[in-house]
Amino acid sequence: MYRNDATGPFFALLFSVALYLATYLDGKHIAALHGGKPPHEALSEGQIGLVAFATLFLIYALIGFFSVWLEGVELRPGRHVPSPGAAAALAAVLLAVIEAALGGFFVRLMLHHLTVEPVSSAAQGAVFGAMMLVGAVLLAIYKKYYLGDEVLVEEEHSEVPW
């Protein structure tokens, strides 16, 4: 039977937090070895490795939780008609406005960077990342509250080999 369990994502989140903590402690240890002052490099190679796996687990956890939120723990056969309430509509409108505002501001920031004074990559990335995040939440709201679903039941031994 199909199960969309939150157990896997929960442990992925736990590992992720543990790895981020290990990265932080590693940084503190490195700084201590340099007499309290951190070295020039922002992250050591070891820290980059830890952060990479921590981020991997975090993304896995987020995908898992999103999936549980969108589809529920167990799929029920049948046609599921969405029922968007006022809250979902309000959230979608607000997020759409924020998305448009961020898009416009990102263009302004780029022009400022090219014509007036440099803007750090981190600041540019933060605005762009916010745009992407808001876009993702908008898509999730659309899927959850506005997109109909139909779950079909197949024979247990279908032609699909898996």
Binding site: H40, G78, F105
Partner: protein
């Protein structure tokens, strides 16, 4: 309409009478499927032409006005107990197909209009420009803080920058490349480099080498300041200028900050030098390699003790000049250190202590 057509008759299944006869366009047929039982049916469209000929077209279709009830919430064979809630879903042909009210185009147009206005406001308004400037200032400030932890980014001296550009082209560009991007995996990029951002680290890397780079200790503090100013403010870097004093302070650990040499002492030192040293080390201190080492641009002279001891005791081909007075030795040592190089002067007391 084709002028040869007389009429079009529409039949359902095997009926003898047509449900509709069409004689002129539009040939629109209305069929109430509720009058038909659920299941397979056949539509026959007969076109009758004026010359009496007929053409028949058949179209099978299926009526499904009463679909089976679908139960949502309880599965077949599922074991249940207590009170159970489930939904029974049945197709309803009387239900309107879409939402009534304003047309979809109106919704789409108004949404696009509102979002475009918001976008334009944030793209061109002075408020947005102000916010962008604040963000740039905040990120620039953070960069400067990270760039010059040892003393803050000084303003960029144009003369030093230009001199640094020449020195860079002559000494550094062969490895780090003219655009400061280096050769990946071989020579590190200076553009956006954290080492370049830190004045002390960059100075140490130039004078002492490291990470595969040889030491370049032939540069004077002014030249080092020029190179640092250049590499910290070109290739897209904005780490601020570096002054000669800052370099001296970092190089000598305070030695260069010693009081400036007494002009009288230096003049006396020049005299002593011309009488005793210039014949070998040459009047301009350039020496005669390999026999007589150059004193100009010689990093060993940074150590005052080394200079005094070499004058007092000599070494190898160089004889001892212990016959000179403390004042004369201090004068000539100050001359070679401060005039031929950028190191500080030497006092009589220092000579006396080492004699």
């Amino acid at each position: 309409m084709n002028p040869k057509i007389e009429r079009i008759e529409v039949y359902v299944d095997e009926a003898k009478e047509p449900i509709q006869v069409l004689t002129q366009p539009p040939f629109e047929v209305e069929l109430d499927t509720r009058t038909l039982p659920d299941g397979e049916h056949r539509l026959r469209i007969v076109t009758v032409f004026k010359d009496g000929s007929r053409e028949e077209r058949e179209l099978p279709f299926e009526v499904d006005n009463l679909p089976d009830a679908f139960v949502d919430g309880i599965d077949e064979g599922q074991r249940v107990r207590g009170q159970v809630r489930f939904n029974v879903l049945v197709g309803d042909y009387d239900k309107p197909k879409g939402p009534a009210g304003a047309s979809a185009w109106l919704y789409i147009l108004s949404t696009v209009l509102v979002l475009t206005l918001v976008w334009v406001f944030f793209a061109v308004s002075p408020t947005a420009e102000k916010a962008a400037a604040q963000m740039a200032a905040a990120s620039g400030g953070a960069k400067a803080e990270a760039a010059a932890p040892a003393g803050g980014g000084a303003p960029v001296d144009e003369a030093l920058f230009n001199k640094g550009k020449e020195l860079y082209a002559a000494n550094c560009a062969s490895c780090h490349q003219a655009d400061g991007k280096g050769l990946p995996g071989v020579f590190p990029a200076l553009a956006g480099s954290q080492v370049v951002a830190d004045v002390k680290a960059a100075l140490e890397r130039i004078t002492k080498g490291g990470n595969g780079m040889p030491a370049f200790n032939q540069f004077s503090p002014e030249e080092l300041a020029a190179i640092l100013t250049y590499i910290r403010n070109d290739f897209g870097n904005h780490f601020g200028g570096v002054s000669v004093d800052e370099v001296k302070k970092l190089l000598g650990g305070g030695e260069a900050a010693a009081p400036a040499a007494d002009e009288g002492l230096l003049a006396e030192g020049e005299q002593v030098y011309m009488q005793n040293c210039a014949s070998c080390h040459q009047p301009d201190g350039s020496g005669m390699a390999p026999m007589f080492p150059a004193l100009k641009g010689n990093a060993h002279l940074k150590d005052a003790k080394f200079v005094i001891e070499r004058i007092l005791k000599g070494k190898g081909a160089m004889p001892s000049f212990a016959q000179l007075s403390d004042r004369q030795i201090a004068a000539v040592a100050s001359f070679v250190r401060a005039k031929l190089n950028d190191f500080g002067p030497v006092s009589e007391d220092e000579v006396k202590a080492l004699r």
